[in-house]
């Protein structure tokens, strides 16, 4: 482990349209010693007029940037992203950051120098003022044909249009030998940035629509973020149209300076949940889990998959990203030769996660797998089919949690006011 990883590290994620992403990448890679992982994603596009729905839709291309940076430099990096990504514009994108626990990296892993970014004062970066706390990011790993339905559910539940990127689902599949070709590896990962107060509602709405209690439907989890901002659209609109509800809401938000006026708990009468619907969520949701996230050079994907499986991870989601850095890469013709990385995400309970991290670290050192890093992040809520329960509709399962109904508490608070 390198010395300065004793310092806390943060994971920063940004979602931007292609053109601004290029500017952000070039701004970031100007910083000495910096590095960033680049992934392609798509935004969601729902047509708001029926006749427009007839036309073919081509979702807007988005770029997702991922970087791991010492927490002390996080503000400065955020400022660069917000400034060059023009994140103050309506519908431009999102950026958020969270803390990494138990971070360790192999010797060949690209590290971010301690003193790369220093200037993070608010005066120089007014964009930082707009950062929100209490954001959560919801990830849903589902089959490829599911995302369009789930996007609608998410938007109806009050979220912005989700960002979707491709991922691979691994786990059981890799134990099947050649029969693994029968299991489609390609999955889509739907990502949503939501405010924490809405997070649980949106989360359960999606879990319900995706039927996460059934086997083979997918997997979703939520990661709370330290802070970030999002400005993502869900509908197409032009100047010729009326302002969308979202635009009006964000205008009122910025006039008020807060979002409390949006609290609708006084007006909703509470969602009726049938006994069956309630029961099927028991066991689907688990609280207080932990995500193991690993980043490894793409060529070693299979090796790390095997190590993770051996260390006790049951399933994992893998996405691939291109690596860009402020360093002399090898060049050929008129082009740079890229490195590629694979990002692994697996969720287990905290003790197991720690154990996986330790075992993989030991194994990686033994196997000379040096271009790797790994960290843990707490996950407050997970939804998936829980294997091992034969009758998953009724049996009580691991750490069952109820989605707490906040209606009653809110109503009480309102009536007092």
């Amino acid at each position: 482990m390198k010395a300065h990883y004793d310092e806390a590290l943060s994971a920063l994620t940004a979602v931007l349209p292609q053109i601004y992403a290029d500017q952000v990448i070039s701004a970031l890679t100007e910083v000495h010693g910096s590095s960033v992982l680049i992934m392609h994603a798509r935004g969601t596009l729902l047509q708001d007029k029926w006749y427009r729905r007839m036309l073919p839709t081509i979702s807007p291309a988005k770029v997702m940037l991922q970087l791991w940076i010492p927490s002390s430099q996080l503000d400065a990096a955020l400022a660069i992203v917000i400034e060059h990504g023009k994140l103050h514009l309506q519908g431009s994108g999102a950026v958020f950051a969270s803390h990494c626990d138990h971070f360790w990296a192999g010797s060949a892993f690209h590290d971010w120098p301690v003193d790369a970014l220093t200037d993070s004062s608010i005066e120089n970066h007014p964009g930082l003022l707009e950062l929100k706390k209490n954001l959560s990011v919801i990830y849903a790993v589902v089959e490829r044909d599911q995302t369009s339905v789930l996007s609608k559910v998410a938007i109806n539940a009050g979220a912005h249009g989700p960002i979707v990127f491709l991922g691979e689902g691994h786990g059981l599949r890799d134990k099947l030998g050649w029969l693994r070709i029968t299991k489609q590896v390609d999955k889509e990962v739907m990502m949503l940035v939501v405010e924490e107060r809405n997070a649980k509602d949106i989360f359960s709405a999606i879990a319900n629509a995706a039927e996460m209690h059934l086997p083979g439907r997918g997997f979703m989890f939520m990661i709370p973020q330290k802070y970030g901002m999002f400005n993502l659209p869900s509908l197409v609109s032009t100047h010729a149209y009326d302002a969308s509800m979202q635009q009006i809401i964000s205008a009122i938000d910025s006039l008020n300076g807060h979002t409390h006026w949006r609290d609708q708990s006084a007006y909703t009468k509470g969602v009726k949940k049938t006994a069956a619907a309630k029961r099927r969520f028991v066991g689907t949701f688990r609280a207080d889990q932990c995500m193991v996230c690993a980043v490894v050079e793409r060529g070693s994907t299979q090796q790390l998959t095997d190590m993770m499986l051996a260390a006790g991870a049951t399933g994992m989601q893998i996405s691939y990203a291109r690596f860009a850095a402020n360093e002399e890469g090898c060049e050929l013709g008129g082009a740079k030769i890229n490195k590629e990385y694979a990002i692994f995400r697996a969720v287990r309970d905290p003790a197991q996660a720690k154990q996986i991290s330790d075992r993989v670290r030991r194994d990686a050192e033994q196997a000379d797998l040096a271009d790797i890093c790994m960290y843990l992040q707490p996950i407050p809520l997970v939804a998936s089919y829980v294997p091992g329960a034969h009758n998953y509709r009724s049996a009580p399962l691991l750490n069952p949690v109820e989605i707490p109904s906040e209606d009653a508490a809110h109503l009480a608070a309102r009536s007092k006011a």
Binding site: T238, D306, A335
Partner: protein, 642 residues
């Protein structure tokens, strides 16, 4: 390796294995049935309801179509699991070698080898089956005397195209800047050719070569290779996602064939010219198109004794009787015409009756074993040498081991099985079905003897424009349906969807391309039905395409042009050629079926680019690119006012 997958592989019994395999096979089979049902149902319905002809060899065709579905199931899985990962993995490793000469040499050899592995020359020969040496000597010579040179020229063209296509990824050249001058040059050359009647004959051949060369194995492999290279090469242009090689591989062979034709024209060693070395053959026995002769008419049916007694009793005739009146002697007597001993014969019109299936259910001349052997041979020839070449380069020149080699092996095996079955199924099912329908379609505007039948039928829709219009409409839907079933296009659709992270849906691409091919084939049938000169069908659409290309966003240029190269594959070609030759054989002066495939390639470029231009606005608005400047000003003002 310490952590091999074998250490913790699950031990599955046969029961669990079947539990895994059955849903997997069912899912894939259903997918393939979805892709071919339209063309099959359409052909059958057209034959039965519009042409009202029975289906000949119905059992053989049914078996063939079932085999096509199963073959496609294996082949598409083979592409997904075996061939494409193989191409991509070598594409990833190549640029890391850092040796440009090695990369370009590999690219050239891959293109050259792919052409020899999937030779389109048999297709071209069948298209030119009716070419008479004395009518089109240069074309005849190219197809017969110089067919080896023709394949080599096409191979070199494809090799150079792959080379340039790969080089393009390194230097971030826009496809527009390569395609527009190339097409411009081709159009200019074609125009020059069209002015000389000898050279004009080979225009169709040349343009069809471009469409035919890229086969169902080459396209996915080259596509995957490009994607692999682009994953690693960062030339600063985000639009270079790995497409474009197929485009160049469809344009360069045209140029190569045109130049080859020009060379032989100058050398004067084609059939009948001064330096001709081949054997002159007498044209009478050589001509494959029979002379126009009287078509066998259906003999009248016998009038039964029952009908005779009814006629005697009532003096009434039923509807389908014909009265012939033959006066023997006519005299003019005092201003009156007097007929001596007139003879009136009453014959009964024979009607074929509606029949769904012909009595002949299986073609006796088709030997199942022989067909299967050819299909297996062709599949092995198309797949195995290319895969071995790729593996050899990866193992010994690049010294990299193949990741997930187990899957790739299964995939390549699937591809071979799939392609063999697929080829067999096409020979048994689609070719006879498409062939009989294609040659029957002219019945809509002229009298012909339908395929496999004894007596003449038609014209069903009048012998003028209305009948030809039916044929052209038929051609449109034939092109549409056949394109949806093409395996290479399906692979391209999947790749586009994956590369754009699902933004550009496969179904959207497929529908655009299918409609474009439909228009192209309809135009090709127009060409044949009215004997229009090919050059006037090539120049206007390609000019439109060039203009569209100039204004289109780069990614759509890539998808559109690539899909044009992909469209004409093993399903479309036999169906379209059968129809082209069928119609051409009934139009005086038309002897070959060339040109339809070339027109089928230009259609999809037009539709994809048009859709790109239509939808670009919305996507740009949404991603904030198109309105960025505006919004920026507005929001700046707002910020001040708040």
């Amino acid at each position: 390796m310490e952590y091999s997958t074998k250490t913790h592989r699950l031990d599955l019994g046969w029961r669990d294995t079947t539990r895994l395999l059955i849903p997997y096979a069912r899912r894939n089979l259903v997918d393939q049935i979805k892709s071919i049902w339209f063309i099959v149902a359409y052909l059958i319905v057209f034959q039965l309801l519009v042409l009202q002809l029975p289906i000949v060899f119905s059992v053989m065709i049914a078996v063939g179509i079932a085999v096509v579905a199963i073959g496609l199931m294996f082949f598409m899985e083979g592409l997904r699991v075996g061939l494409m990962p193989l191409g991509e993995s070598i594409g990833v490793v190549l640029p890391r070698s850092g040796n440009m000469a090695l990369i370009l040499g590999f690219a050239f050899l891959l293109g050259l080898g792919a052409t020899f592995a999937e030779p389109a020359i048999s297709v071209l020969k069948s298209a030119g089956a009716g070419v008479k040496p004395e009518e089109a000597p240069l074309l005849y010579s190219l197809l017969n005397d110089f067919s080896g040179e023709l394949v080599t020229a096409v191979g070199v063209g494809v090799g150079l195209a792959v080379l340039l296509g790969v080089l393009r990824f390194f230097y971030a050249w826009s496809l527009k800047l390569l395609a527009i001058p190339a097409v411009g040059l081709l159009l200019a050359l074609s125009f020059y050719f069209s002015q000389t009647s000898l050279l004009n004959d080979i225009l169709g051949l040349a343009w069809d070569c471009g469409a035919v060369t890229t086969g169902p194995v080459t396209v996915p492999l080259v596509l995957a290779l490009g994607i692999g290279v682009c994953r690693i090469v960062n030339s600063g242009s985000e639009h270079n996602a790995g497409f474009g090689i197929v485009t160049l591989a469809s344009l360069f062979p045209i140029l190569a064939v045109l130049l080859l034709g020009l060379y032989h024209y100058q050398a004067e060693d084609y059939y009948g010219a001064s330096n001709y070395r081949g054997e002159m053959r007498s044209s009478v026995e050589d001509s494959t198109v029979p002379e126009k002769r009287a078509l066998p008419q259906r003999p009248p049916a016998a009038i039964s004794a029952e009908e005779y007694t009814r006629f005697l009793e009532t003096g009434q005739l039923a509807e389908n009787f014909q009265i012939a009146f033959n006066p023997s002697d006519a005299e003019l007597v005092d201003g009156t015409l007097v007929l001596q001993q007139p003879e009136i014969t009453i014959t009964k019109n024979s009607s074929r009756g509606i029949q769904l299936f012909d009595d002949k259910t299986w073609d006796k001349e088709v030997s199942l074993v022989a067909k299967f052997e050819t299909a297996v041979f062709e599949a092995v020839r198309a797949i195995i040498p290319l895969c071995l070449f790729l593996l050899f380069v990866q193992k010994f020149l690049l010294k990299q081991s193949l990741q997930r080699s187990e899957e790739v092996q299964v995939g390549v095996l699937f591809a071979v099985i799939g392609m063999s079955l697929f080829g067999l199924g096409i020979a048994l099912g689609l070719t006879p079905l498409g062939g009989q329908l294609g040659s029957n379609v002219p019945a809509s505007f002229t009298a012909i003897v339908p395929w496999g039948m004894e007596y003449a039928e038609g014209p069903l829709f009048g012998d003028g424009h209305s009948g030809k219009l039916v044929a052209i409409l038929f051609a449109f839907f034939l092109g549409y349906g056949a394109t949806l079933a093409e395996p290479a296009l399906n692979a391209l659709g999947d790749t586009v969807e994956k590369i754009t992270v699902g933004a550009f849906r496969k179904s959207l691409l497929m529908q655009c391309v299918a409609i474009g091919v439909g228009f192209g084939i309809a135009a090709g049938i127009c060409k044949i039905a009215y004997d229009l000169p090919l050059i006037w069908l090539l120049i206007p659409p390609y000019t439109v395409v060039l203009v569209l290309t100039w204004f289109s966003p780069e990614d759509f240029v890539n998808f559109g042009w690539d899909s044009a190269g992909v469209t004409t594959g093993p399903i479309t070609v036999p169906l379209v050629l059968a129809m082209g030759l069928g119609i051409g054989g009934n139009i005086p002066g038309v002897s070959d079926g060339f040109g339809i495939l070339a027109l089928a390639s230009v259609g999809p470029i037009m539709t994809v680019l048009a859709v790109g231009l239509l939808t670009r606005k919305t996507s740009e608005l949404d991603s904030g690119v198109g309105v960025a400047d505006d919004v920026e000003e507005n929001s700046a003002n707002e910020a001040v006012s708040i």
